[in-house]
């Protein structure tokens, strides 16, 4: 087992590589003995490589190459560790990893930074960086600054504070974040962040996304196991100027988790869970939906309308919408919006079609009457109906068309039967329907979403929406 030192800024491949003073210049060439001065040095199983670089682009090879210690002509070098250090112990190095390299190892090489207040900075301004199979052990913050793309594959982040990412597009593929303390959190700040597969492990963090996360762009999480968070965790404590966090097919804590904690504002963004709100396991329905933003919440509900939405798994269901206290404003964009509902509509340019969306609501503060047109309306989007079948643009149509009407209720619905699986109330008193009729020129999807702007000043008034668009 040997130790090797690599420093693209000051090293040389004619050096011995056994100290920072004798550092090699090229990390990549360690895997190929023929390219090193003297030809004697090559990395072998169990070896450790200490690497440091203070500036981007110092490594001599092209960007995005994979440093493959376990393949090609030098298939004899596993396992090994790559350590970028700023340590108080044995090996002093820079805390900045700045290069256009890609790093690969199959047995969890390590970038380790010890000591409180010492951050690991991964910096690249012009090139993309790829890290494969790397374990990062950071006592304090890990900071990634990139003007380009950062990709992490099969990595583990053992964090003592937070992982903060700035700029660029950042991708996690099958990565784990291993928190040390319950107060640790994740702070993605990339222009675009995606995480596909992986888990939160270690200490049960009380907040997953914290301190103005997603400040520069939205976050998308797919198949990520979040059940390792605290059983009473907040998925996001947003702050200001925050974008949306979307979770798809993710596993949530089994306890009493909340989507948003802390103060909210119009700049807060929101959290959307699709097929993710379960009891510590993935749910089985793609219709499972949970959403929260400044204006309120939308949830999958077991209340349902006869003949309405039924996915065959969850069973019959509706979406329950509850506006936040004193946040919405009737007849305006300051409203809680449902997800888009879609249906396939055949069209021949001659047959009129009517799309209908059904709702009902609890009595609550609505005064025991149907909701007014400026409190509840439906936005439709359909295929063209103007005779120009070559175009596929959509038209926007609002069902009632009179959003400023503060005294007239939307159309009453007398034909539906709503059911409450948990007992009373049955929500059958304040049924309404919203319809639009058009003559589609050709087959295509029609979409609808509900805008709920009723201002709540006292008790909540839950609106139930059947997401099945009825076509007649």
């Amino acid at each position: 087992m040997a130790y090797y030192y690599v420093d693209p800024d000051t090293g040389s491949n004619s050096n011995s590589g056994d100290s920072w003073a004798q550092a090699y210049a090229n990390l990549d060439d360690l895997a190929d003995s023929s390219t090193l001065g003297g030809g004697a040095a090559f990395v072998d199983a169990g070896d450790t490589v200490f690497y440091r670089s203070q500036s981007a682009g110092k490594d001599t090879k092209a960007a995005q190459r994979i440093l493959d210690f376990n393949g090609g002509s030098e298939d004899k070098t596993q396992p090994l560790k790559i350590i970028g250090v700023k340590a108080a112990t044995t090996n002093e190095g820079a805390s900045v990893v700045a290069s256009d390299i890609a790093v690969k190892g199959e047995t969890q090489p390590i970038f380790a930074v010890t000591g409180a207040g010492n951050d690991l900075n991964i910096t690249t301004s012009t090139a993309s960086m790829v890290f494969v199979g790397v374990r990062f052990e950071i006592v304090d913050q890990m900071i990634a600054n990139s003007g380009n793309t950062l990709t992490f594959v099969d990595n583990t982040f053992n964090l003592g504070n937070r992982f903060r990412m700035n700029g660029g597009w950042t991708y996690f593929h099958n990565c784990d974040i291993d928190f040390v303390a319950a107060s640790d959190f994740f702070q993605p700040l990339a222009n675009h962040f995606e995480w596909h597969g992986g888990a939160i492990t270690g200490a049960a963090a009380t907040t997953f996304l914290n301190t103005n996360p997603l400040n520069n762009g939205p976050g998308y999480f797919y198949d990520v196991d979040l059940s390792g968070l605290s059983s009473t965790a907040n998925i996001m404590v947003p702050g200001n100027n925050v974008n949306m966090a979307h979770f798809n097919n993710c596993k949530l804590p089994s306890g009493a988790y909340s989507l948003l904690g802390g103060a909210k504002s119009e700049e807060t963004g929101g959290v959307e869970l699709i097929s993710s709100s379960g009891s510590g396991s993935h749910t089985t329905s793609v219709q499972d939906y949970e959403y929260e933003d400044f204006y309120g919440t939308v949830d999958l509900s077991t209340n349902y309308r006869d003949g309405g939405a039924d996915d065959g798994s969850t069973g019959e269901f509706s979406y329950a919408m509850v506006t936040a206290a004193d946040k919405t404003l009737e007849g305006t964009h300051a409203a809680l919006k449902s997800p888009w509902f879609r249906v396939w509509v055949p069209g021949d340019g001659a047959t009129a079609k009517t799309l209908t969306v059904y709702t009902t609501h609890d009595n609550g503060t609505s005064g025991g009457i149907d909701l007014y047109e400026d409190e509840l309306w439906v936005e439709f989007s359909t295929t063209a109906e103007d005779g120009d079948s070559d175009n596929t643009y959509t038209v926007i149509d609002v069902a009632e068309r009179f959003l400023v009407n503060t005294t007239a209720a939307g159309a009453d619905d007398t034909g539906s039967t709503w059911n409450n699986a948990a007992g009373s109330p049955t929500n059958n008193t304040y049924k309404q329907k919203f319809a639009v009729t058009y003559t589609p020129d050709y087959d295509g999807f029609a979409s609808a979403r509900v805008w709920y702007a009723k201002r709540m000043t006292g008790s909540f008034d839950t609106l139930y929406v059947d997401p099945r668009i009825i076509v007649t």
Binding site: A256, S265, S279, S285, E290, T297, L300
Partner: protein, 168 residues
């Protein structure tokens, strides 16, 4: 001041026996705060409400700081309700100093100038008002002054832009 009253105002029944609890708490100013946890079927709802109230009490000062930071970028301010005024200003300044985007940071310039008038006649007085070392306050002050210079240059440049007709 803490949450002075709280209640569970309703729930939404979800699949697998889970429920969305609708909880409200009112602080001493009459402002309503909300939390809507997703809870399992056998959840102790009263305990969840009590735990949230305790958590919210602790969060009110930091929530107020974040709200003031948001207001600051829109040239608005409100008196502190959940902490001493100087603490609110100090926290808000710390929040603003974390803004990396210079354009976004510049949106709080007018708020900062108003703060300066209220906090004292000079740098020493303002640092003393905030309870921070003068050297640290100078870092904050310098960033605002630098961004003020940039804004002044840009505004001067904008005044020199010609209209699309009438010039030459």
């Amino acid at each position: 001041m803490p949450i002075v009253s709280s209640q569970i105002t309703g729930q939404i029944n979800k699949p697998q026996g889970r429920r969305k609890l609708l909880m409200q708490g009112t602080d001493q100013t009459g402002k309503v705060h909300e939390s809507r946890p997703n809870v399992p079927a056998d959840n102790d709802d009263v305990a969840t409400l009590a735990a949230w109230v305790v958590q919210k009490d602790a969060q009110l000062p930091s929530d107020e700081v974040r709200e003031e930071a948001s207001r600051a970028r829109n040239n608005k301010t409100e008196p502190a309700q959940h902490q001493p005024q100087a603490d609110l200003y100090r926290g808000t300044l710390a929040e603003l100093m974390q803004i990396e985007d210079a354009l976004e940071f510049s949106e709080s310039l007018l708020w900062f100038r108003a703060f300066e008038i209220e906090a004292g006649a000079n740098t020493n007085a303002r640092a003393n008002y905030l309870g921070v070392p003068r050297a640290e306050y100078v870092l904050v002050e310098s960033r605002f002054n630098q961004i003020q210079g940039v804004v002044t240059v840009l505004e001067a440049d904008a005044e020199r832009v010609w209209s699309d007709e009438g010039n030459w």
